[in-house]
Subunit: 332 residues, 4 copies
Amino acid sequence: MVNTLSAGDHVLMYETGHFAFLWTRLAKALGLEAEVIAMPGEDETGIPNSWRHGVQADLIEQRLRADTGHSIRAVCVVHNETSTGVTSDIAAVRRAMDAAKHPALLLVDTISGLAGADYQHDAWGVDVAISGSQKGLMLPPGLSFNALSPKAIEASKTSTLPKAFWGWNEIIAMNKTGYWPSTPATNLLYGLSEACDMLLGEGLPAVFKRHRRWSAAAQAAVRAWGLPIQCADDALCSPILTGVIMPEGVDADAVRKVIYERFDCSLGTGLGKIKGRMFRIGHLGDCNDLTLLAAIAGCEMGLRVSDVSLQASGVQAAMEYFQSNPIPALKA
Amino acid sequence: MVNTLSAGDHVLMYETGHFAFLWTRLAKALGLEAEVIAMPGEDETGIPNSWRHGVQADLIEQRLRADTGHSIRAVCVVHNETSTGVTSDIAAVRRAMDAAKHPALLLVDTISGLAGADYQHDAWGVDVAISGSQKGLMLPPGLSFNALSPKAIEASKTSTLPKAFWGWNEIIAMNKTGYWPSTPATNLLYGLSEACDMLLGEGLPAVFKRHRRWSAAAQAAVRAWGLPIQCADDALCSPILTGVIMPEGVDADAVRKVIYERFDCSLGTGLGKIKGRMFRIGHLGDCNDLTLLAAIAGCEMGLRVSDVSLQASGVQAAMEYFQSNPIPALKA
Amino acid sequence: MVNTLSAGDHVLMYETGHFAFLWTRLAKALGLEAEVIAMPGEDETGIPNSWRHGVQADLIEQRLRADTGHSIRAVCVVHNETSTGVTSDIAAVRRAMDAAKHPALLLVDTISGLAGADYQHDAWGVDVAISGSQKGLMLPPGLSFNALSPKAIEASKTSTLPKAFWGWNEIIAMNKTGYWPSTPATNLLYGLSEACDMLLGEGLPAVFKRHRRWSAAAQAAVRAWGLPIQCADDALCSPILTGVIMPEGVDADAVRKVIYERFDCSLGTGLGKIKGRMFRIGHLGDCNDLTLLAAIAGCEMGLRVSDVSLQASGVQAAMEYFQSNPIPALKA
Amino acid sequence: MVNTLSAGDHVLMYETGHFAFLWTRLAKALGLEAEVIAMPGEDETGIPNSWRHGVQADLIEQRLRADTGHSIRAVCVVHNETSTGVTSDIAAVRRAMDAAKHPALLLVDTISGLAGADYQHDAWGVDVAISGSQKGLMLPPGLSFNALSPKAIEASKTSTLPKAFWGWNEIIAMNKTGYWPSTPATNLLYGLSEACDMLLGEGLPAVFKRHRRWSAAAQAAVRAWGLPIQCADDALCSPILTGVIMPEGVDADAVRKVIYERFDCSLGTGLGKIKGRMFRIGHLGDCNDLTLLAAIAGCEMGLRVSDVSLQASGVQAAMEYFQSNPIPALKA
């Protein structure tokens, strides 16, 4: 944002969850005019629909068509909402922008999506993507990445938001000779090189399949419990994490505490508008079927200890899924 | 053995499993006259009873009473049979020796038992114990330990079996000033110091309870499957590992291969007389309820994929055990 | 800067070297009106005096007295100039500001100074200090620190420079409960805890003495070579690094290349206005007398291989210093 | 020894230093009849000539010729005497044995020599070599190696010395399928694989040159000091370490203590017959010119602090050597 925009610029941001919301807050803190759109309404328990579904590209298209003066400078969407476990169809957003013939930049947060969910920067026509080292790249936190389109670089030349550390110009210039404007986290760069070797050695299609398979097993478990999955649209369930909504009256954080203290398993908390309503099971990077089953077992025992009524065993359902769905490469 | 005995010495060895058997082979290789006793008979599937039960101290007492000339110089028993998951009552062996008023040394292998199962060198009157770094001490392989009674040290003064690297004399002399006769594995000694801090910080009684709890859950799982536990005596089931006997006609190693290749879980193979008949689930050291459940889940899925008929879900049984039996310290 | 200042704010920055210069550039990039002062003149070889001396507090006092309207909002000085090996007297800067009765904030860069050179945030009346993990704290790069005075926190409430990631408000609020607004570099925090234990275990006075002792030996070496030390004021030579000026006509980077390729020793390059004119020997953190002598030997051999005429052996001079000046704690 | 020999076997052992002496002691402890030969006489300060020179192959030839009944079953020599820094010409020993037409086995200790000094098992006709992980292979202690000739394997079939852990038979059998009879130190095997990649990547001739170059610099330093090198035969100075003899009346261990406590450098002590008379500087594996200079500087300062009179600076001499003798690969 600081590289492509200027004070007071109008940006269209789609709220798919807490990280999209935090991005909006960040935009406002930077002095941008952030217009937030979202799927309207809420489910029967009061959770915003927008936090259970992906970006609705038609809402974006409609808004952009109305912006006949092209005051909107950028459209901001999150690829994989870490707070909900819902992915969004970025290609559809691009198509919507194109259909509206709108010149705004497309900015995408794929921090938790990269290297777990398919992401195609060029094919999807994204202008700026941001990601980090601590998710699918399996590294400690400490590296962040931008992928830029030529149009984004062009926009950066007229952007006037104050920036120093984050400024692309100097980074781009120094990267050409393998340097970095400030002290780089060299040890993480070695780790990144190793992570890339591992991921490319496996092949990205296999990496994505592996994550989708874990997601399918996690979904099977939650459905067996009879609990709602945070992602209400099956086709958009995140390959990276699965959100589990608690029955009304159950404090998700109290359940998480039991699971942590009794079973040594640390789950993601519900954030923002869904705090206390759900928890999150991660299934990404350096894990396997059994570590996911372990996490599901921790949840199932914690739910039972917390007297949450379950319809059936989620562990059994996930095991059945894994039994029936061998990792493709192992079929041969 | 090389420190307390001389060529041709008569030793009484009790075969509780493959590691006891290997010890016997080692004794013979060293030129000792190894007399092997064991519980007679076999179960209905042909597995020796002696590999499913602990040391029967009365057999030892009876044999020692018959040795009126005291030709037997040492009694050798394994504390925790890693090949079967059966522990033996070492204190009972000592009582048997005392009852027979026999002066033989008591030599105990507690390689896999130390720091997972209760072991009381002095109280149980053991003369020589041997252990290693790679089990309950949670270190890489590379350190081995002897605990010695004054009687064992006395015996070492007249022992004539050739020895150099293994010789106690020089080790005892140099240990007094903190040295070691040959280049020590310093890095493992740092690890040992840390492991001891961890174990003593937790408290050995808590460590032992923790392992017994895992064992109880593993037993519950195997019983739910309807499969026999290698240890036929409930009171002697090892806190450290659980052996699972396959139905006749099922190749345990074929099942292990499925579990390894499909579910990334490496189990202990059946050794020696029970090769192909059973596999072993370890539950020791730096693990927790969920990692054990993961292993059990791997077994259960592998058994099903291998078309082994199971009565019920072992994972569910283990989960129920864990739910109902919180770690004592967490009750408060 | 983004936390205490607003667009167009007037800041007084003292250029002691390249990192001070980069800070000025950063201030300008943020839209501040950066007024740079420096000691005037240059030495006989054209190196700015200001890059060979510490901050002259009287220049600051004079400028502040002239600022009767108090337009200057902050005074920015570097504590330990990593590009030159010159420290500055921060307490004197505070006294100058007090003498001028000027209300500007005092902002100090002690990135490379912390935990190597004495630094007294409260006693010296600093408002904001910035430091990092990768110098005296002996950690990989990845953590940065701010120390704040109440006055700085007060100023942050009216500061309007756009900020998000860097904003104190949220950090201060979340730190109270041990959290951080974004994903923290947890592994570095464990390292930081260990580093603090090490440093406080040794005692900061001993840590500072240790660094001053290394600096004295490095200075003795450079003087023996007959080469100028970048720091022209003996009392201000950095305890953390020593800059060595090459004779005119000698390319310092060519010498560094020889030292690197022939002797496997990587030295700091001359930066900015002194590029090619000098190189830097670091002596901080986890090193000892011998590693410093190794670096000095690498320099001495590299200088000789590069046909730089040396008056005497710097290695010998440094060795003599170390021989005559045992580490105080070892005297007893 | 336990693999090729039987109780009471006659072995001819050449004492080149303390490790050769310890080997003799080991042979006697195993019940062998160890006949020790050595270069006669001592130097002017009472140090045995045999501890300052390599194996004199003619002494071996002479002794073997006299053994017309071929009672001698093995000739034992140390390749690189770690206690003295003297290497021996193993090929010459083989030639001597061949000249005497003697069928004894040739057993060689190259524990500290492997991967630092040239060693040619087959070309030199060695029957059994022993080495370890903790020297030129740059690993922690914990692995030991035997290289065997067909003749040695043949001899093992009739050897009757008691053995179990050390027995080749089982090792050879299991190695064929990549296994090991007892729990292997897997982590060290990964390290070994990496070390081999590093050494073979550099090329063994380059590795040996690198070590000889360090040795030459260390020798230059000791000669400059005016102190005797333990190895009295220049052509046999070890590429791996250099022994430094103290002037009479100087306690080498007192000097070592000063160097350790004042300069944080840990040197090898004099062992056995030369305890207190000398110390040892290692230069092997993962070090470089500067780390060796650091060690030499530590010695030089420690010697001066201990009031040992030195003729000149050894550090300067070593630096001059390094300046004049670039690493061959870097010349191009």
